[in-house]
């Protein structure tokens, strides 16, 4: 599903984001990306989304090489990846339902499908009652669930989450974690960058540890350490 081959990202002026990273994550896998602040987790995820290009190496997502991808194909690439962020990135003056519907509209789904899918997915994340609320009328945990619903509503084959529990208390974090776990069980590949030691240790999933932009450890059923 994801293949990084000798990927190096150097930011101007000469700041190492990633260095010689070789990672392969299979279809349907669940993987944690761990490491201290500044170790390169977000850089990894942004490269996946093709927000910018690697300085060296090649990245393949769902069998498509990102460096050879035409500009016009970029939207389709992104629709195939659901993403969740630490700051939720919800649209502030739109209702919960509209926020989720956004991801569907972008793909040109007909109005009927949108009317059917939005309540369905919001029910799934337990927000059926809050459809017509604005984001700032929700708790942080609820906002993050909206953002997960938006990421998953298109049923992408890959879901990436950059510290989705970074702003949440432990109990709420568990709720989000469970949601991501359930999404993974439907066959969706999930990659989650996190600082959350407890969570990683409890889940016993694959752990890819970064340090100074390099992969220092990559083990199945790993611990945060």
């Amino acid at each position: 599903m994801i293949r990084f081959e000798n990927v190096t990202k150097i930011y101007d002026p000469n700041i190492v984001g990633l260095q010689d990273v070789n990672v392969h994550i299979g279809r349907g896998d669940f993987a944690f990306l761990v490491g201290h602040s500044g170790s390169g987790k977000s850089t990894f995820i942004r490269l996946l989304l093709k927000e910018f290009e690697p300085s060296r190496g090649s990245i393949t997502v769902a069998g498509r090489n990102l460096q050879r991808m035409r500009r016009g194909a970029l939207p389709h690439h992104r629709r195939n990846i659901g993403c969740v962020f630490q700051d939720f990135k919800l649209l502030p003056n739109r209702t919960v339902a509209e926020n989720v519907a956004y991801a569907l509209r972008v793909t040109g789904q007909p109005a009927r499908a949108i009317r059917r899918k939005v309540p369905e997915i919001l029910q799934l994340v337990g927000l059926g009652e809050k459809m017509s609320n604005l984001p700032d009328e929700l708790s942080a945990g609820e906002q993050q669930r909206v953002s997960v619903a938006r990421a998953f509503v298109n049923h992408p084959s890959l879901l990436v989450a950059d510290e989705p529990t970074g702003n949440l208390d432990p109990d709420t974090s568990v709720g989000i974690m469970q949601l991501l776990y359930r999404i993974n069980r439907t066959g969706t590949t999930v990659l989650m960058a996190t600082h959350d030691r407890e969570m990683v240790d409890k889940m016993r999933k694959r752990v890819i540890a970064l340090e100074g932009g390099k992969v220092i450890r990559d083990e199945d059923k790993g611990l945060y350490r």
């Binding site: 939207p75 990135k89 649209l91 956004y102 109005a111």
Partner: protein, 372 residues
């Protein structure tokens, strides 16, 4: 579906910074209103001048007492003038028939007429309307034409007392009775155009041939001088109306272009603010895989909508102004004919113009501020 969504987004942004939107709409309104009124005035004037142009330039009425020979001679003379494009003879009967046609419903008034008091006439069309006065002057003082004798009293016609000798180009004549001539006035002596070059005192004056080199064979000693009341001209208005139409066109276009540029800049600035207000949304849209045009359309429609709103308001205003003010004016200046402009066509182009301004404005903003 998409269209409705984009429209909703566009209206949302339009109302969200409504002060800017209103400013942009008002500039479109003003520029399209000026365009509309300018075009209305221009087309009406054009219409009017073409109407005047088609009307006759000179009408020469013939004395009831003139013989058929005299009439034929005058007709041949007119046909021989190089300035004349065409000529029609209107007989007394035709003149009466025309009067009847123009007074349908008031036949009782005509019934009171005994016989036919209307004179026959020649209607003359010229190649160049600037020559109206010159040609008309040839019929002044002509005895076949229904000119009254110039008189210092009711029954004392003025008579030329000088001698116009062979080959003379200049001479001094003395007019009997009271003098009625002014410097540069044209008149005729035996079919030759003469110009008053000097009129130092009442009854003695210098005259010259208006066209040098023509042969003067006439002796006009004792000739009676006739006025010019049997000749009517109508061409003078043409040139004046033409000039007004051209000024309207030039001044109006300049003004409209200026206003259009202002509208485009204001629309572009409004859209720029919208883009700025939504930069976060645009970033999120990109992350969830929106295509470039999916992001652009709402902004394009916002611009188009601004233009459309302004133009629609302008159309309403133009219609109101047309129906009130301009109708009143044109009913007083009846020569304008008050003919309807191609109104539907004009209003459609105002709408089209508004949409164009809106699209150009948003295109400008998108190119500069929404680099994708």
């Amino acid at each position: 579906m998409r269209f409705r969504f984009f429209l909703g987004e566009a209206l949302d942004s339009l109302t969200r910074n409504w002060v800017m939107s209103v400013a942009a709409i008002v500039t479109v309104l003003v520029s399209m209103f000026v365009l509309g009124i300018g075009a209305f005035v221009f087309f009406n004037l054009q219409n009017a001048t073409s109407g005047v142009r088609n009307k006759l330039e000179i009408e020469v009425f013939i004395k009831n007492t003139a013989s058929q020979d005299q009439v034929n001679q005058l007709g041949d003379q007119i046909k021989g003038m190089p300035e004349v494009k065409s000529m029609d003879f209107v007989s007394k009967d035709e003149a009466l028939q025309r009067l009847r046609d123009s007074m349908k419903g008031h036949e009782d008034v005509l019934a009171a007429l005994s016989g036919n008091p209307l004179p026959a006439s020649f209607e003359i069309f010229l190649k160049d309307t600037n020559q109206t006065n010159l040609v008309a002057s040839r019929f002044y003082n002509n005895q076949t034409v229904d000119n009254s004798p110039v008189a210092d009293s009711a029954d004392n016609p003025i008579t030329l007392a000088g001698d116009l000798s062979d080959g003379a180009t200049n001479m001094t004549v003395t007019a009997g009775g009271g003098a009625q001539f002014a410097k540069d006035m044209y008149f005729h002596i035996d079919n030759e155009v003469m110009r008053v070059t000097d009129n130092p005192n009442g009854d003695t004056m210098n005259i010259a041939r208006a066209q040098a080199g023509t042969k003067a064979e006439a002796h006009s000693k004792g000739a009676e001088i006739y006025g010019e009341d049997g000749v009517k001209t109508g061409g003078n208005t043409t040139a004046r109306v033409n000039a007004v139409a051209n000024y309207t066109l030039i001044g109006g276009s300049g003004f409209v272009i200026l206003l259009a540029v202002a509208s485009v800049l204001l629309i572009s600035n409004t859209i720029r603010l919208s883009i700025f207000a939504r930069r976060r949304e645009v970033e999120i849209m990109r992350l969830v895989g929106a295509t470039n045009w999916f992001i652009r359309w709402p902004f394009v429609m916002e611009g188009v909508f601004t233009g459309l709103l302004g133009a629609t308001a302008a159309v309403i205003l133009v219609i109101i102004v047309q129906n009130s003010i301009i109708d009143v004016i044109s009913s007083q200046l009846s020569f304008l004919g008050a003919e309807a402009v191609p109104t539907g066509w004009l209003l459609l182009s105002i709408i089209g113009g508004g949409i164009l301004l809106g699209s150009v404005g948003s295109a400008l903003a998108l190119r500069r501020f929404l680099k994708i």
